[in-house]
């Protein structure tokens, strides 16, 4: 970035001073002449002046060229940054929506639930009286039923909401999504001292899926891998992403050289709220698995050959069964 600016400034500066010099040389007055009445005539016949003129034109051309190239570079990086920002924004808004929805579900369900519990306890107390107060008990139970129905309605409403927010399934290239994610995480990978290797099958067929959701899954797996390798000091921190085509699906493998996977935990890590990270929520892998399963694929984990872990998932081909 900086070198282009500096280069541009030097060339432009050179052009300006050269033009100045040429102008001065060209406009120099000749004190003596064969034709004294034309003593103010401008002379451009000297060889040096012509040379300087040519050099000026070249330098000017160069300056214009650098300017144009610089513009093009700027436009390109701007476009790239914009695209990245868009993807991030989309992801964040989706995550925010999920969070907000969870909070509002909790509240909407909790309210009637509290009324059900309170009415139920009250009716038990009315029944335990000697003699039992059936009228009051009936009233409390009736209200409990009403409130339970209210909770049911809330669930119906949420379900309707979820179906509307169903993913946008399109034919997408899994390799491209992997590359998207790697460019998004390039900074994190760099900071984590991780070397990335990809072996992406060029002949991998397109899969049917929601681009953003699949990005989220791969992003999650890559971030997990970075975290798993953060404490490794005695061997290289390597992230290997492979893609391969199968008869009816595409396989994506994400392998790290991190702290590895306890075979007993290989399944537990997909349970909601199960986490091995001190600050982890325990939702990433659980959500990732449900996304892959919603796509008709499978996501599983196994220990790496010598160390680390391998996470892999399959996605059905776009022109396959559906």
């Amino acid at each position: 970035m900086l070198w282009r600016k500096v280069g541009g400034a030097v060339i432009t500066g050179g052009a300006i001073s050269a033009m100045h010099y040429t102008g001065m040389a060209a406009a120099s007055f000749l004190p003596s002449s064969s034709r004294p009445d034309l003593s103010h005539t401008v002379s451009i016949s000297s060889l040096g002046t012509v040379g300087i003129g040519i050099v000026t034109l070249i330098v000017l051309g160069l300056a214009i060229l650098t300017c144009a190239v610089d513009r093009r570079f700027d436009a390109q990086s701007l476009e790239l940054a914009l695209a990245e920002a868009n993807i991030k924004l989309d992801q964040m808004s989706r995550i925010a929506t999920v969070g907000e929805m969870a909070a509002s579900i909790a509240h909407e369900i909790n309210q009637p639930l509290a009324a059900v519990v309170t009415n139920g306890s009250a009716s038990l107390r009315w029944l335990a009286m000697k003699p039992p107060n059936l009228e009051e008990a009936r009233g409390a139970v009736t209200r409990a039923v009403q409130e339970a129905n209210r909770a049911g309605e809330v669930i119906t409403r949420i379900r309707a909401l979820l179906t509307r927010a169903s993913p946008e399934m399109r034919s997408v290239n899994a390799n491209e999504i992997v590359r998207d994610v790697l460019s998004l995480t390039s900074n994190e990978l760099l900071k984590g001292g991780v070397t990335v290797r990809t072996e992406l099958a060029a002949d991998a067929p397109p899969v049917l899926g929601d681009r953003i959701q699949l990005q989220q899954v791969i992003l999650n797996l890559v971030r997990n891998a970075i975290d798993a390798m953060s404490t490794i000091g005695d061997r290289p921190r390597e992230l290997l992403i492979r893609s391969a085509k199968d008869t009816n699906s595409v396989l994506i493998q994400i392998e790290d050289s991190g702290s590895g996977l306890d075979p007993e935990q290989a399944e537990r890590i997909f349970e909601p709220f199960f986490t091995t990270k001190p600050q982890g929520l325990g939702m990433g892998l659980s959500i990732s698995r449900s996304i892959i399963e919603a796509h008709g694929g499978r996501l599983w984990a196994s220990p790496g050959l010598s160390h680390g872990a391998v996470f892999q998932f399959t996605l059905p081909k776009a022109d396959g069964r559906r």
Partner: protein, 208 residues
């Protein structure tokens, strides 16, 4: 079981929750009065019988903590039990610091609420008793003559009649009379008794 005159005030914007709480509270022989908002409750005069408040912290138009502030401003010292759908720790800490008796998260165990209510009613009853006794003492103190009111703090600070007489420029016998009269009017049975009363009234010369 508590007296029939005790009142539990329920403030919750959710009508069905209000009814459920009403039923639960009545099932243990207590009286409940229901309000849909904090404003509705604050409009009436402070209760004069042992009572407590059961308040949903997410009241419309006023937060539970704001409500506590309003109560304090109106000098209503009725104990408050908060119930909330999603209480976080800082919120509950602030509520308890501002004098809440209990902070329950919905859905709560009925026994937890009823225990908190009993505790709150007992503390309110004790408070009302204390306040009533103090009112009686204040009334007695008001019936003292200006001279007796002057003598009383000196007496309870442990000075001898002779010292008091010297300080006020009068005879020991006069002080003795004032002292006896003050004791009688305050209905104090002993000097110790009188000292205790003075402390509760916050008179100078005593530690309250």
């Amino acid at each position: 079981m508590t007296d029939r005159e005790d009142i539990v005030f329920v403030i919750d914007d959710d009508a069905s929750m209000r009814e459920a709480l009403n039923s639960l509270i009545r099932s243990v022989g207590l009286r409940a009065e229901l309000f849909g908002s904090a404003k509705e409750f604050l409009r009436q005069s402070p209760p004069s019988v042992p009572s407590c408040l059961v308040v949903d912290i997410r009241l419309p138009g006023m937060s539970g903590l704001e409500f506590q502030r309003h109560l304090a401003e109106a000098d209503v010292r009725t104990p408050v039990i908060f119930i909330t759908a999603h209480g976080d720790v800082p919120m509950s800490v602030r509520a308890m610091k501002a004098g809440a008796v209990e902070f329950l998260t919905k859905p709560f165990r009925d026994q937890d609420l009823l225990d908190a209510i009993q505790l709150a009613l007992e503390s309110d009853r004790a408070r009302l008793q204390r306040e009533a006794q103090l009112a009686v003492l204040r009334h007695r103190f008001d019936s003292l003559t200006p001279r007796e009111r002057e003598v009383l703090p000196l007496v309870v600070s442990g000075r001898l009649n002779k010292e008091i007489a010297k300080k006020l420029g009068t005879s020991e016998i006069t002080i003795k009379m004032h002292r006896a009269s003050a004791m009688r009017k305050m209905q104090a049975e002993s000097l110790v008794d009188l000292v205790k009363m003075a402390a509760r009234l916050g008179l100078p010369g005593t530690e309250s």
